[in-house]
C-alpha cells in the first residue's frame, strides 16, 4: 500500500515537472515574422545592395532573417542582434551608418548646410534692406532725402542761370 502511494506521488510529481517545462517553453514562443522584419528592415545584405533585408528575396537574405529569428528566440535584444551583424558582416549592413569616423559627414553635413543656408539668407535679407539709404534723417515733403534735395536745388539753380544767360 505504501509502495503504491509512493509510485502515485512520484508519477504526479513527474507529470507536474513535464507540465512546468512545457509551459516554460510556451512562454518563449517562436518570434513572429513581424518581429523579425522589424529588425530586418534596418539591415541590408551586401549581396543585394539597396534592398532592405525584410523584402530581399534571395537565399542569402532568407538565411539572415532565419538568423535574426534564432537570435530573437535566444532572447537577444534588437541592439545586440544589430551589433552581431555589424561584427560579422561590417557596418555597411546597417541602414543608417554609425556616427563615427567619416560617417560623421552624413550627420554633420546637413546641419552645416542648414547653418550656412540660414547665414546666406540673413546676408541677402540684410543686403535688400541696405538698398534703402542708410541716412536716418527723415525724408522731406517732396519725398526726397536731404542729399537728393540738395542735388535737385543745385540743378535748378544751374538751369535758372542758363535761362538767364540764354
Amino acid at each position: 500500500m505504501r509502495k503504491s502511494i509512493f509510485v502515485i506521488a512520484f508519477s504526479l510529481g513527474f507529470i507536474l515537472l513535464l507540465a512546468g517545462v512545457a509551459s516554460a517553453q510556451q512562454s518563449q514562443p517562436t518570434p513572429s515574422d513581424d518581429q523579425v522584419n522589424a529588425i530586418a528592415k534596418q539591415l541590408y545584405c551586401p549581396v543585394c545592395e539597396n534592398t532592405p533585408l525584410d523584402v530581399c528575396p534571395t537565399t542569402a537574405c532568407a538565411r539572415w532573417r532565419d538568423l535574426i529569428r534564432q537570435q530573437l528566440a535566444a532572447g537577444k535584444t534588437e541592439q545586440e542582434i544589430k551589433d552581431y551583424f555589424v561584427k560579422q558582416y561590417g557596418a555597411r549592413v546597417l541602414g543608417t551608418p554609425p556616427p563615427e569616423g567619416i560617417n560623421l559627414l552624413v550627420y554633420l553635413g546637413p546641419l552645416v548646410a542648414v547653418v550656412i543656408g540660414i547665414y546666406v539668407l540673413y546676408r541677402v535679407y540684410r543686403s535688400w534692406n541696405k538698398t534703402v539709404p542708410e541716412s536716418n534723417a527723415p525724408p522731406s515733403s517732396s519725398g526726397l532725402t536731404p542729399e537728393q534735395d540738395a542735388a535737385q536745388d543745385e540743378y535748378i539753380h544751374r538751369l535758372e542761370d542758363e535761362v538767364r544767360k540764354g
Binding site: D66, V86, Q88, Y89, Q152, E154, E162
Partner: protein, 189 residues
C-alpha cells in the same frame, strides 16, 4: 552743358565675410571634394591586379585557428571566396578539394576558403557536404573581401611564393585540370 545727375552714389555698406571665414569655407569645400574623389576612385578600381602585392590578412578559421602572413610566407596561396547560398561555388567545391588533396603533401601550397556574407551554420553545413578539409573561415566584417575589392562569389586569387598575385579567377573553376594549370607554373622545378 554739364550733365548733372541727381542719382547719388550709394554704395551699400555691406560687411565682407572675414578672411578666416572664407578660409574655413574653402578648406571645407576642398575637403569634401577630396573625400568624394577618393570614394569615387575606390569604387572605380577593379579587383586587385595580377603582379601586384595583394592585401595581407589574418583569417580566423571556423575551428578557431589563425592563418596570417607568417603561415602564408614562401608558399603558393590559393584564396577562394565562396558562400553556401552560391550555386556556382558548389560547382567548383569538389574540384578545389581534390586539388587541395593533390597539393597538400608538398607543403608549399596552402588553400584558404573565405565564407562571404554567410551564416556560420550554413557555412559549416556546406563544408560538411563537400567534405572540405582545407582551412576555411568567415570574412568577419567583410574586411578581407573589401581589401581584395571582390565583386561577388566565387572568386579565386592565387599568390605566388614571392607574395605577388599571379592568377585571378572571377568565376568558378570548371575542372581540376584548370586549377592545376593555374598553380603548377608557380611551383617551380
Amino acid at each position: 552743358m554739364e550733365e548733372i545727375t541727381t542719382e547719388q552714389a550709394q554704395k551699400p555698406s555691406q560687411k565682407v565675410i572675414p578672411r578666416w571665414g572664407r578660409m574655413i569655407a574653402w578648406v571645407g569645400l576642398l575637403g569634401l571634394l577630396v573625400v568624394v574623389a577618393m570614394v569615387l576612385l575606390r569604387n572605380q578600381q577593379g579587383p586587385v591586379a595580377v603582379g601586384q602585392k595583394p592585401p595581407s590578412f589574418t583569417l580566423t578559421t571556423f575551428d578557431g585557428k589563425q592563418i596570417g602572413p607568417a603561415e602564408m610566407a614562401g608558399k603558393v596561396i590559393l584564396v577562394n571566396f565562396w558562400a553556401s547560398w552560391c550555386k556556382p561555388c558548389e560547382q567548383e567545391a569538389p574540384d578545389l578539394e581534390s586539388a587541395w588533396e593533390y597539393y597538400q603533401p608538398r607543403g608549399d601550397v596552402l588553400f584558404i576558403g573565405i565564407a562571404w556574407t554567410d551564416t556560420e551554420s550554413a557555412s559549416l553545413a556546406y563544408i560538411e557536404r563537400f567534405k572540405i578539409t582545407y582551412p576555411n573561415g568567415p570574412d568577419l566584417g567583410t574586411t578581407i573581401s573589401q581589401a581584395y575589392r571582390t565583386t561577388g562569389v566565387p572568386e579565386t586569387y592565387i599568390i605566388d611564393k614571392q607574395g605577388k598575385l599571379a592568377y585571378v579567377k572571377l568565376s568558378p573553376f570548371t575542372s581540376l585540370a584548370e586549377i592545376k594549370t593555374a598553380i603548377d607554373p608557380l611551383l617551380g622545378p
